[in-house]
Symmetry: C2
């Protein structure tokens, strides 16, 4: 995937920096990436990176912006009743993760959040508030907070096995196989009886 | 938990080094930990660490040794039929993770394996061959390899949420609540119909 067709010369310098930042954070994690390295990849002066985005931490948070609207994902996941929500959610996640932006964001998040203790808060906020809570609140009959964290365990584990540790045969399994296998687990966390 | 009662003065210098290594790998990850730091914590000469354990990588692999026999866990998990295997497995995992050894091992594994690409192999081998495969092979009706990797997604995600990112309310939920909530997912990955 290219830069979502926004390449417009100097007018998109901010975008170039953000793309370079995603790539550097994905490759080196938060701790390892440098403003200098990001500036070099974006072919701009490091001072310009600071000018547009402030500190490295602020820039990191900017790179976590989603390439889609979580509210739309929530709506799509529950469209037509919650019966199939789990499976549909898996399909959507696999689709997003397969994009270049998704890959970079995930690598960056996982590597950074697990290594730098002060980024746990960012990771937590991002995962729970921007992605998981809106979906869960839409369909859950009760215990929204617990369901959201349970959902995170399965989604994060799936992301890691598919895209970080590459455990086979799951890493290469086709989306429908994964949706059929993992969907019911998400479905149960979303709407099932958790004490059953 | 103390050093499993093996403290015997000089005779257990190897054990002291291993304990120090677990602590250092847990705190700094594979890349960040140093033989010198480990030697300092164990109060021995760095040369002795090399003498006993060779390279830092060899020492790291030594620290991954389990404090229990996976075959016993497998046997216990399937004891009395597979109906309750998932829930029983969650209870056992929570118990192991709560020990000091379990905590150190997990932190060390997660931080190192996600950051250092050359350690993926170690992580994969350890998780799949020593822990997961024996349990799955014992009860699975088919697709052992796929089930094993699915099991890893849920177990790894649970470990991360409980002990690394500390997402609440799941991180502090009592073991029975977690076993009831997550057990059925593991149960399904172990023996359920994955295409259902």
């Amino acid at each position: 995937m290219a830069r979502t067709g926004r390449r417009r010369g100097k007018a998109d310098t901010r975008g170039e920096i953000l793309t370079a930042a995603r790539s550097q954070f994905a490759a080196h994690g938060f701790a390892g990436a440098t403003i200098r390295g990001i500036a070099t990849e974006a072919k701009v002066d490091p001072a310009l990176v600071h000018h547009y985005y402030g500190t490295k931490r602020q820039l990191f948070i900017e790179t976590l912006q989603l390439p889609f609207d979580p509210a739309e994902v929530a709506a799509a996941a529950v469209e037509g009743g919650s019966e199939e929500a789990g499976r549909r959610l898996v399909r959507m996640l696999l689709e997003v993760w397969a994009t270049e932006h998704g890959q970079a964001m995930m690598q960056s998040l996982l590597r950074s959040a697990l290594v730098d203790a002060d980024l746990y808060g960012v990771f937590r906020e991002f995962m729970l508030e921007s992605v998981v809570q809106p979906v869960v609140a839409e369909v859950a009959p009760d215990r929204v907070a617990l369901r959201a964290t349970l959902l995170v365990t399965q989604i994060m584990g799936l992301a890691i096995v598919r895209h970080v540790t590459h455990l086979e045969p799951l890493a290469s399994a086709d989306p429908e196989t994964v949706a059929a296998a993992v969907g019911p687990a998400l479905q149960r966390y979303l709407v099932g009886d958790l004490a059953d």
